[in-house]
Structure formats: C-alpha cells, structure tokens
Amino acid sequence: MAMATATGGPGLSGRAGARRMANRLALALSLPLFFGLWELVSRSGVVNAILFPPPSKVVAALLAWAESGDLAIDFAMSVSRVLVGFFAGAIAGIAIGVATGRYEFVSNLLTPVFQLLRPIPPIAFVPIVILWFGLSELGKYFLVFYGVFFTVWIAAHLGVQRVDEKLVRAARTLGTPEHRMMQEVLLPGALPYIFVGLRTSVGISFYTLVAAELAGTFAGLAYRIDISMQNLQMAQMMGGLVMLGLISAVADKAFSSFARRAVWWS
C-alpha cells in the first residue's frame, strides 16, 4: 500500500476511483434515502401519522388533486399572478431604473421615495391591499409587482451607473447621438446587472405570491395549502408545498438558462 502510494501506482488510482464512486453513490442515494426515511418514520408510529403523513400518501393526495381538476386551476391562477406581477414589475423597474441611473434630475426626484418604500416587506402591505383591491386579482398582481419592482429598479439603476465610461466615450467619438446612447450602450451595458436583479426577483415573486394568496382568494397553490391546513388534510398540504417548490425551482432554472444566453458576454 505504501509502495503504491509512493510510486503513484495502481493502488492510488484505485483508491481515487473508489472515492469518486462513493461520491456519486451519495448523490444518487440522497433523495431516495430522504423519502425512504420519511416513509419509515411516518409509518413507525413514532410520530403522529396524521400530522406527518408518509410520502406515499402525499403522492396519492397530489394525484387526487390533479384528477379533481383543481390542480390545473390552482396552478394556472398562481402562475398567472406571478407572470403578470413579475413582468409588470420588471418592465417598470428597468424603465425607471435606467432613467434614475442616467439622469440625476430623475434620480433626485424618485430615489428618496423609493429608498423609503423599498425596505417595507411586501407582506406588510397585505391588509392595505385587501382594503384597496378587495379580493380581486389586481391586489395579487400589485403585491408581486411591489416585491419585484424595487429589486429590478435598483439593479438597473446601479447597472447603468457601472457601465464603463470608456464605452460611452468610444460611442460618442463614433457619432452616437445622446438620445440613442441608452439603447446602444447603457442598456446593453447594464443588462448583466439587470439580469441578476431579475433572477433574484423570480424568487421574490413566489414569496409574495404566498402572501397574496393567504390574504384571501378562491384558487391558487398557496390558497390550497391554506385550505387543506384548515381541513387538516396534511398530505394535500404537503403536496401543495411540493408543487410550489417545484414550479419555483423550474422558473429559476429556466430563467437562469435564458439569462446565460441573453447576456452571454458577461
């Protein structure tokens, strides 16, 4: 053994191979072990099986949810709220962010107000949103919008300011008129920063979605979680959590691969 180590012979590569194999095995076993253990603990009677249902029951609840047709509706409602709120917040955030980033006048006018509102968690707005918008969809859009807007705004604002001044100078010596500087240099230059803000906002829009749906609605993934809790349908509730985690993860993955292609130069 010592010999093999000293000469770097087959013993060493054999051991390295074994280690690699073990590492891969750990990765492959992670999820099955987790669910297996959960199933065992939950069926063993150590914990209350009603409060802590096994994964098999959660899967059954998910299937029943899908068969009833409610899953499709809940899914569509939640996704539409996230999409509308996210895109409205992103567009407004980018438009206003590049303006405050470039023009001191606009920045002086708006930045103090935004810095005042930005730290307020969107969830804290739920009561006021109910008063303003009732249980309408508009209130849901507003909350998601609120969560997304400030993050994207600050990313666009800083992004524009961090565009290399030399690029702007080069553009000017090439005859780029001031009114085209935004589109030709500042916006593309800020895009890598903007995408970081947008990606953070994907996560934020799901947080605020939960708050928005808990505030009162008639369909949605977080609404379903809330309702099943009231009916003590723990399996259904966990199914809701799984769905929420799943679409949030898919949205994040999809967005990051889109971002990699959109700002491939950074």
Binding site: D164, L167, R169, T173, L174, G175, P188, W265
Partner: protein, 287 residues
C-alpha cells in the same frame, strides 16, 4: 506581417478622401483640475500646429498630461485657457470627425466584430447594408475578415485593438487619436501592430496623434515627436523624425534610427533637467 498582403487598396482608396482635412491647432492650452486649494495644473500653456495627414507622437513620462491633451483634442476635456481648432473650427465636444483608440480595447462586448466596426456608420445614418460593407472592407484591411462574426472576448488583445482601429476609421475621420493603444500588448504583437498601423495610415492618411511613453515606438511611427514634461505638463521639445518611409521593424536596428534615438534621449535628458531646474528656481524664489 500578413496584413501587408491583406491590405485592400480598393477600400483604402475609397477612404482616402480625408487627406485635405485634419489640421489641428493647439493654441496656448491649459487644463486645470479642481478649484481653490485643490487646484491642479495638469497641462500648462501647450501649443502645437499639426498639419493635415501628419503623424505626431506625444512622448512623455506617465502622469505628465498626455491623456489630458488627447482628451481635450477629442473634446472630452475643455481647456481652462486657450483654444483647440480643427480645420479652423473650435473644438467644443467629441465628434465623428475625430476617431479615438484607447489603451484598453473599448469594443462593445455584446456586438460582433463586424457590428462593432459598423457602429459608427450606423450612427451617422448609413443603411445597415452600407455600414456592413464599410465594416467588411476595414476588417479586410486590418486582417480580421475571417473573424467578422466573432465576439470581442474570443479575440486576443492585439486583434481587439486592430478591431478598435478599424472601428475608429469607419467614419473616415480626418483625425485619429490614439492613447497608448499598444501599451497593454506584448513586445512582439506591439511591433507587428506598429507596422500595420503605418500601412493603414499610409493608405488612409488621417492626421494621427499618438500618445506613448516609449521612445522607440515614437521614433518608429512619427513624422514629428512632441516631448512633454511632468508637473506641470508642458511641451518641452519637438523632434522631427526624417527617417524614410515605408518603415519596417528592421529599421530600428539601423544606425540612422540609433542616431535619432541618441539625439532624442539626450534632448529629453537636458530638457527634463532644464525644466527641473526652472521649477526648483521658481520654488526657491517663492520661499
């Protein structure tokens, strides 16, 4: 250098109309940064007349105000005193008649090499097809035709700087301002770039102001060298370089080159000493 064969006379001829324009007058220009106690004279009453089509090098130690002078000619800095004119018109801001190449390549990373070069013509209202044609001609000239569809980050530093030169020439500027454009390149690439710059200049014939702190580079390139001293930035000497053209790298080993270099170095030394003594005298007088 492969650029020699790749040189497209056709493109050059179509760009060569700039030769009558590009005369620059720098008239007792001072540039002062800051105010009050923080006031700092970066450039102190410099004057120079640069003829249309001339190749002038601005030579001086780093921090002496070379970039500041360039930025004033480009229109990014405004003289605190004095005046800069281009073909009789006072320079008030940057314009497409003065192309600029910076030390770091400032290519737009999101655009292809071709789109980078086509940017200027596009901004001046040329159609996309026209702009692309101009870009392709220039890329041919700088030997980068094969890389037209690449993006800047896939190219070496030397290739990026060639692209930057092509881009600066795309609007057929009468003046080309180059601020230590080869400073970040290795010696081999730099010498190659100097040769191809001279070929491009010979064909297109813009007025060139080229900033460097390298005596060899200045002699190799210039018709005339303006030597600057530091604090405050002044033109302390003017050295004509009467070496024959076209020039190639071999020339730097010839006695004529060595002779000029010896004269230059001597001149710079005495002028620097003189400037230094003047400053010390002025300081003593103030005490």
């Amino acid at each position: 250098m492969s650029g020699k064969e790749r040189l497209s006379r056709g493109t050059a001829a179509s760009l060569g109309t700039a030769s009558r324009r590009g005369a620059i007058e720098i008239d007792r220009v001072s540039i002062i940064f800051g105010r009050g106690a923080k006031e700092f004279i970066a450039v102190d009453r410099v004057s120079a007349s640069i003829a249309a089509g001339e190749f002038v090098c601005l030579l001086g130690p780093s921090g002496c105000g070379k970039s500041t002078v360039m930025n004033a000619v480009a229109g990014f800095e405004h003289p605190s005193e004095g005046r800069i004119t281009l073909d009789g018109a006072t320079v008030t801001g940057p314009g497409a008649d003065r192309g600029m190449v910076f030390q770091q390549p400032t290519l737009f990373p999101w655009k292809t090499i071709r789109a980078n070069v086509a940017h200027g013509p596009r901004m001046l209202g040329k159609s996309k097809a026209e702009a692309m044609e101009i870009a392709d001609g220039l890329l041919e000239m700088v030997g980068l035709a094969a890389f037209a569809d690449n993006h800047p980050h896939t190219l070496s530093g030397g290739m990026q700087q060639r692209t930057a030169i092509a881009r600066a020439l795309a609007n057929t500027p009468s003046v080309l301002l180059m601020d230590e454009p080869f400073g970040a390149l290795d010696a081999q690439t730099r010498s190659m770039m100097q040769e191809s710059l001279l070929q491009i200049w010979a064909d297109v014939k813009p007025t060139v102001i080229f900033v460097t702190h390298d005596i060899d580079e200045a002699i190799f390139l210039a018709d005339r060298i303006l030597v600057m001293s530091a604090s405050p930035g002044r033109f302390i000497s003017e050295i004509p370089v009467d070496l024959p053209r076209p020039r190639d790298a071999e020339m730097t080993l010839e006695p004529a080159f060595m002779e000029i270099k010896r004269r230059c170095a001597g001149l710079i030394r005495t002028e620097t000493l003189k400037a230094f003594e003047q400053q010390s005298a002025a300081l003593r007088a103030r005490k």
